[in-house]
Each structure stands twice: as structure tokens, then as C-alpha cells.
Symmetry: C2
Subunit: 207 residues, 2 copies
């Protein structure tokens, strides 16, 4: 693409550095910003600068945080005896958005993946062990990727905290809501049959 | 979506104001920016601020410009007797990217569209008339949308500059390269047959 303005070109190039943004999309955004009020553009750039410069990571769960301890860990009305182990902040946002979970989190920062050079030292596993040891944590809910690497990570963590008085569970796997049986992969389908669950509040009236 | 950090939430909300960016995409961008070096983020926000605050519009062709006269209008090696009339800066970038056009441009800022309340006063038509009158412009190349509104605009401009010594042409319309005949609309196909062109450098050797 050839731009007749260096200012536009620079802005497009900066936008195109973001993931999933090609030059055409970047240009569309730049032209939209050109139409915005100057105050709106200032709010945009300030929000981004502030976020990058002021963000911190919770010293307890490694989630992004506005202070030393994040809003979730410092919330006294949450259940501090449950810790949900996830990979990244994205997973926290997804689970929080369900509004069904009231415990705490622990962000590993990824999962074990020898091929990508990610071993236990690259993940926040040691801090998890210490956290369980030093706090009254009763349940560790593993919410990692449903892959070989995810399962390996669950197994590794279970080994690391062996002997500590904590129950380990994993989130249920099965057919998604709205998912069609015929398109489910064999492993998921096999597992969802093996782990079948009773229907609650159902009374068999047959005689 | 529920964020545990106000800094993240603000940044996501600002990104989500851009066209075609939903909350999920905005979050992906924000998380990417979190991973960037602080210097890189500064370059990003500075490029955007500078663009919005320093951009100007060429007093001659209305294109975005870094100065009073844009880089195209002030380039002496371009053909100043040809002016290509387009709607927006996007069209200029598209035509410039072909590297086949060496004349100047005139940005109307849109096309006549009574339904959207866009009349001749909202477009840069009067400045075009003045430009043709005051300069040695020999050809006006109309490169507007191939729609009723586009054709109406061409017709309106032709009426406005009636009597001025300038030739008016429009860009060729027809089947796109790689386009398939069976998917072309009737109007385009009919027009491309009516306006058929001789094959250059072809010598009929039949006897």
C-alpha cells in the first residue's frame, strides 16, 4: 500500500503490528480515528499507555492487577478455600463472565509443552505449591486446555502437591450446549458417555 | 465480559470503539500490547496521537496531508494536467498502490446521495470547478462508485464544468481479472460486451 502521508503510514504500520490486523484493517481503523474528536483520541491513547505502564501482576495469583493484590484475591466475599488453576488471563475473564464461580484463581502462564521449550520452571507451579502449603485451600479446580499438554500439566501439578491436604478436581468435559453429537470428536463423545450423569430432579414414575 | 482490572477494562473499551472490533478482538489486542516492550507501546500511542493532531487536508485536492499541499500535488514529476476524481482517501491509496497513475487527485468526500442527506454542498465540487478553471487541467478521470449515485455524481459534475476546456473520462468497467462470467451481474456483463475492445498486437493471419 502506498500512502501519501507519512503520519497516516506510521499509524497504519503501528496498528498492523497487532495480532490479526492486516494493513487494510489497520487503515480502516486509522481512518476511523481521523474522524474521531481529538478528546476521544486522547482517551484512547491514554487508556493504552496507562494500562501498559501501570499494570501489575497479582503477587498471589499472577493475574493482571491494578495493585499488588488483584481485585479477586483481595475480595473478602469470595471463597478463599477454592483455587481454579488456569493458563492465562483470558481464561479468568471467560470464567468470571459466567458469574458462576466465586473462588480464587491461579494463573500458570501456560501449560507444559516440551516442544515449545515450556517446562515447569517457566510456569507458576512452585508458587502454587507454596500457596497451597501456606493457605487454607481445600480444592484445586483444574481448568486447563483439554489436550495432551493440559492433561500432562494436571498430572505434573498433582505430583508436585502430593501429600498436601487439598482435593484436586477438573472441569467437566463433554458435549457443548448446542453441540451436535455427530460432529463431536470420538474422544469427547466416548468420555461423555463414560462420565454420564444422572438427571437431577427426575423421578421415574414407571411401574 | 468481566475484567478484574480497571486498566484492562478501559483499554478494551477504547479499542472496542473502533469499527469492526468487538470486545473479544479488543481483548486480544490489549493482551498483545501488554506483552509489548514499553517503548513499542509508546511508539504506538505517539503515532496515533501525532496523526490525529498533526494531520491536515491538502488545500488543493482535499487529500490528507502532512503539510498545506499534499505530497502528490507538490510532486513536480507528476502529470499536473490529469486529475482523478475519487470519493475518499481509501480510493487514492488503492489507485496509488497500482503504481500505474501519475496524475493528481481530487477528493469529493463522498458522492451525491439525497437519501443520506448528501447534496452538492457537502462535497468538494465547487473547489473542483475552481481548480479546473484556474489551472491547466486537460483531463478529468472519474473514478467513483459504479452505482446510480456514482453515475449521478459524474453527470452532475459534468454539468457544473460545462464549457470549461477539459476532457471527462471514467475508469473502465467490466469483468474483473479472475472474475467468472457466470457470476457477473447482468449490467456489468452487458456493458462489457457493448464496450468490447480490440485485442492489441493481434494480427489476423487467416486467409
Amino acid at each position: 500500500m502506498i500512502f501519501s502521508s507519512k503520519l497516516i503510514e506510521d499509524a497504519v504500520q503501528e496498528f498492523a503490528k497487532l495480532p490479526g490486523i492486516g494493513k487494510k484493517t489497520a487503515l480502516r481503523m486509522v481512518l476511523q480515528i481521523l474522524k474521531m474528536e481529538k478528546g476521544g483520541v486522547d482517551a484512547f491513547t491514554t487508556a493504552i499507555s496507562r494500562m501498559r505502564n501501570e499494570i501489575r501482576f497479582c503477587s498471589q495469583c499472577h493475574n493482571v492487577s491494578d495493585g499488588d493484590i488483584c481485585a479477586i484475591c483481595s475480595n473478602p466475599s469470595r471463597n478463599h478455600s477454592q483455587v481454579c488453576v488456569v493458563e492465562t488471563i483470558r481464561d479468568v475473564i471467560a470464567i468470571e463472565s459466567t458469574q458462576q464461580y466465586n473462588g480464587l484463581y491461579h494463573l500458570l502462564g501456560g501449560i507444559l509443552s516440551p516442544l515449545d521449550g515450556i517446562g515447569p520452571e517457566q510456569l507458576n507451579i512452585e508458587t502454587l505449591r507454596k500457596r497451597i502449603k501456606d493457605n487454607q485451600i481445600e480444592e484445586l479446580i483444574m481448568a486447563l486446555s483439554p489436550t495432551i499438554e493440559g492433561d500432562t500439566t494436571v498430572y505434573y501439578i498433582a505430583r508436585q502437591i502430593q501429600g498436601l491436604p487439598v482435593k484436586i478436581t477438573t472441569i467437566a468435559r463433554g458435549i457443548s450446549f448446542g453441540g451436535e453429537l455427530e460432529y463431536a470428536d470420538e474422544m469427547t463423545l466416548a468420555r461423555s458417555i463414560a462420565k454420564r450423569q444422572p438427571i437431577e430432579n427426575y423421578v421415574n414414575t414407571g411401574n
